[in-house]
Point group: D2
Chain length 420, copies 4
């Protein structure tokens, strides 16, 4: 495998190829193969983009049929048959059963586009400019979205201040026994707190990049209530935590809230195809024609696979139940592994919800050793958290019990080899 | 065709479906078909995204083969076989023959991502924050790119000031006999002009959304020189004008310049798939790992079709010659049509380069009447320009002479019906 | 007194004249007289600008002598005899005895100018743009300073986002038992907290406009330590709390710290004349010539009275001792008054340091009734705090014991009349 | 004279003391004296702040009487007798005779405060954020005002982008034969010019710091008309050009326009005391109480001398006539001097209006040599313009014919000594 070629041609900005410096070729389900045929189990799965696995055969068939019959591929924002099928399937199988009356905007095929659109719409509706966001939040890196993203490495690279958002501490940030919403509420009602009255709050209910931090159900409910009382729109960024990752289609279903807007992307197409969506409460659709655009907002192939994924996995609660069950398997194993580490002087903690799980091992160095050891043994797994201190599992939701066990066993071996 | 369904479910932000309120289903080459089988000729072609036509059979085959054999679809920024093939083909067929020594960044699959990345890199390299941009320029609508985009409708929707860029008049903006670069140069060298010393200038050499304004070769050369003398990086945004649209692969080849950075997208994948690329002079690759990211920067399907498109159309200059020939056909017809309009009191002008052509008919209302009439007659064609006053032709470069003639004839009939 | 004339000619932006809608004419020491000769005791004293009382006779003599002999009045930033006298007196009587090796910048005659200069210098030195500021802080309303000021009424009026600063909770803001610096420290060291690495922290050690909040000595020391460890400059804004108000010349003397920069204004001239100063650690003077300017930075009359005030009041610790003694008198009385209110169901609290004292009465309405009642009885006294809930005393430091007793008695009567 | 002391204690930001490195002590009329008694003629006059000369005896008497009788010195924004006298005198002698129905805001004692207030008010009224400003404009250096100021040295020192304003070319900037307002008008009406619809345009009708550039009367009238037609507020910044400097009290009187807002400062107090004022059309006073504040907005001494100056110099047109006459004297001499320089290969040009005059000598180096030579011969005179290329005369309007002749003679000698 000629990796020097990549090093010569590809910008230094590259990241994952530094952790996994090999050349991949094929993939199916929870497996990846390199050009020379070596197989890996995939616990990264497109950083949450492949909830239904790589090249899922059900979706693959729909995709190939559509291409074969010359269905519209690039549709700008034309009305197309493919789009209609996606809208209808979404409405019937997802929105209606959950009592959600949303309108849909396809703002371009990347999550950051959905966030940029949501923020602008919130400002337009309220006439306010500030967006309330949370420590360790990640909402994209184009400049508008980046204002709500906490990561210094992106913020520093911007070259100008990221304007239009202010940070408040996420659930748990101030330690045990402090409800961070006390601070949020006080600052919102204090006329000289420096917290400008927000148009909206944007929040991930489980923070992925931030370290698999799951806000408590009570905290989420209270946040929704605080926003409602003050006419602040609540935007749930479900880009990583949505599409079943937490054990429900939307991460907010666990708390029984109905956000004013929801952003989706990543696993939305189901096949790893670029796709993003903003949903907004019907009465909030205050856009005028063309106020947000983008060349690829009509990427119809993604709609085709997205509709098929909904039909296949979300027509009843079987899939959801299965995800919850496997989530428990991972949780238990991670608790055990955290215990192993803690016992030998590396205080560690399991965290997450559903199949969005991690082990906070306390340091980025240790986490890197663990994932590196796993890679040596045939498992692709990555870290997250502000210092990369959380080993995270984002394996396909469709992973078989055997594959899951294999992956967890590799991870366990990697950990044991470091501490024994 | 149930368009009411769309009106109920889809945000008011929708645009093209207002001009063409029908539901499309299939497409091939320069043709589109609605769900009920009506055929249209496509002179919009994904707003410059379908230079090789809809669902080009050569690319289709490569795409289906790749999907069939479970090639990696979603590759984050992993090294993949598909990516390597794209890089190598690009290097061999495009960069080397043109003497360009660029490194490549795939910053996410939308043009606006490439612009955001270019801007940040320019700031990082120079330590300056300002980006010089031009009247009527369009470089995307995410917030960082939007600072360089002139359109009021997007800028107003932002809700906060778009920071980090300043506008100067594009070639021709101050009328005949005024070289706008005199002003640019004076303001750059004047210590109290208010024009902050720029990190970079970003420019389209033919402005698409801005009204098919083609900068003169002299102006382009002088701009490059002005930038070089003052250590200002030159970013050519070739998102719409690239991939052969102007009669050369890159729009800047006509002027013989070598920009410091180049952004590409739209027709890059060749099949309408989301894809974008930033190329930078080798020594300018000052990124540190992971300073720019995005979930879909490894959309490998797009790389597969992109490589195939390069192999098929760019191995020699046959295609390029053909584009230039057809560009002349359009130019002559548009001159004639402009003459027709001028003769009856609607002063009109042909403009553009290669197969990126328009007729400035002086008012958005008249342009709308013309394109509406064309649509009634079976031709999809749109307007651009600050008031929508330019009827623009962005038909597939692969259009046959017959199809082109049919389309032009429809357009002519639409115009004649209005003035006769 | 013709107040209708003022209402017709003066902008609605006026404030104090709404609380005290009469026309003043003369003033001396702690007294003001209206045009018809009515006398008031002044517990507002120019909002902290008249520490030595109105028209202090010692300073008056120096001022009149200087004007009489045609000393330079407007000196741009020329070197003048008056300026030299001020610098030397400041160095000998204030800086040297306190072990402070500062250089001096006179950035214009208003406090907000000193803050704008401090912020820019901090950015220049560090190459970072963010300024860490605190809830309820007030540092001026010109746009640069306003970014660090918490008040919504000014921030909303700006019309664009105030950029370049981020807020953290001031001492006590998160309630008993929470050290807000735990949060500050965590967020500073967390790579995805959203708190951009600051160039400097700016802080009032007793917040005046924010509600007479005195940070604890421990908090101040820890803040200084946190900044030092991370190479963040510490700017103490001593505009209101300086010049002896807290019982020491500088408010930071109580904590034994040496800030990197200090801003002064308000009582600096001693006579109520516009004057402001930025002091910076000698090695931080990284300005290049003329990078900050302003027409009135050489307001020499203010330097003349400033030097005279230093000579008269700060040659030894007699004045300082007297301020501390009178501070205790106010504190005791305010504690008693807070007790009175608390006893009848209006929980109230004394707060402050030295002669910068307030009673937090829990609501702006009650505070207004109290100050209004005091005004009816001949006492000028105002409120502060985010909702105007703190009745504050900023009487001249030179007030006699009798005058102080008279003022406090009026205040007590006003309170008693409301609750009895 | 101990200048080393200043160098040790005073920040490197100092400017004028670098051109004139001596220590001044006294001043009267058009003369300055150093501490050792050396006399200088003053053609700088506080950079336009001393239109009535240093320590004008008429104003001095009023000032000393007021201080003597303990008139209010520091009045916050209380109503005071001194303020009433100023308002009434202004109304009677200045506003009424000129048909101006303005309300008054005293936003703090510096010009930059008046500009910040004007900008915010314009945004508040219109709901737009952009301010249109002009190349080479100078409107102050606090961050809000700085966005409208062209000078790179201040803009670079800000450390963040100056937001909220966009620049357009001032009259003459694009050379002979190009009316820059053609560009302004086109960009305003062009929906993709990148020029955001402005809340207001701010303009100096003679640019002082920018190089004594006097806009033509036609340009001013057309600018006013362009603004009016588009509901853009016109703010005339008369801080340097006002108070008679151009031969009329307001610089806009020459063009017969009535701006929506006017900022004044510099010579407004008449005695060099810090003072600034914003005047706004009565119906534009949309401030709510306290939305703009500042400690020294009630600097009453400045109001006392301001009122006296109006009474003494503006009760009829005698003074105005005298200024126009002396302006001609300067103009003729400057034309002659420009001719001298041009004859020996230094193309030079006289410019300005009234007694705001300059000679553009083509280079900052030459201008410095001229002013340095003048200083050696007893004349204080400075340069302006983007590269300091304009020798400017801002001598007191009250200068006697003899003194003016002496100063001009020194200047002529300095020039002749360089070229002969």
């Amino acid at each position: 495998m000629d990796t020097q070629y990549f090093e010569r041609m590809e910008s230094e900005v590259r990241t994952y190829s530094r952790s996994f410096p090999i050349v991949f070729d094929r993939a199916c389900g929870a497996h990846l193969w390199t050009t020379d045929g070596t197989q890996y189990i995939d616990f990264l799965a497109g950083a949450g983009t492949l909830n239904y696995g790589h090249n899922n055969p059900v979706l693959k068939k729909a995709l190939m049929d559509y291409i074969e019959r010359d269905g519209i591929v690039h549709g700008l924002d034309f009305w197309t048959h493919g789009k209609q099928d996606f809208y209808q399937t979404l409405e019937e199988l997802i929105l209606k059963p959950r009592g959600l009356d949303y309108k849909i905007q396809l703002p371009g095929p990347t999550g950051t586009n959905a966030v940029e659109a949501a923020i602008r719409l919130a400002r337009r509706i309220t006439g306010r400019s500030n967006i309330l966001t949370f420590t360790n939040g990640f909402h994209g890196v184009t400049m508008g979205a980046l204002a709500t993203t906490g990561n210094a490495k992106f913020r520093d690279a911007l070259g100008v201040p990221a304007i239009g958002a202010q940070f408040m501490p996420y659930d748990g940030y101030l330690g045990e026994g402090v409800d961070t919403l006390d601070y949020v509420e006080k600052a919102l009602d204090d006329k000289s707190s420096g917290l400008d009255r927000p148009a909206a709050a944007i929040v991930e209910l489980v923070q992925g990049e931030g370290g698999i931090n799951a806000a408590s159900i009570e905290w989420i409910k209270r946040l929704a209530e605080i926003c409602k009382q003050r006419d602040i729109l609540l935007i749930v960024d479900d880009i990583q935590a949505g599409c079943g990752r937490t054990g429900k289609f939307f991460s907010f279903e666990h708390a029984g809230i109905k956000p004013d807007m929801v952003t989706n992307s990543k696993s939305l197409s189901g096949y790893g195809l670029p796709f993003a969506m903003l949903m907004m409460r019907r009465d909030l659709d205050k856009w005028t024609p063309g106020q947000y655009n983008g060349t690829f907002r009509g990427h119809t192939l993604a709609m085709v696979t997205a509709a098929e994924a909904l039909r296949h996995y979300w027509k009843d609660d079987t899939f959801e139940q299965d995800v919850q069950r496997k989530g428990e398997v991972i949780r238990e194993r991670f608790e055990m592994l955290a215990g192993l580490l803690s016992d030998v002087g590396h205080p560690a903690k399991e965290r997450g919800r559903g199949m969005m799980r991690g082990i906070d091992v306390g340091s980025g160095e240790l986490a890197d050793e663990i994932t590196h050891g796993a890679f040596q043994r045939g498992l692709i797994i990555e870290t997250s958290g502000q210092a990369g201190e959380v080993v995270k599992c984002l394996c396909p939701l469709t992973i078989t019990d055997d594959e899951l066990e294999q992956g967890l066993t590799i991870l366990e071996r990697s950990i044991r080899s470091l501490i024994e």
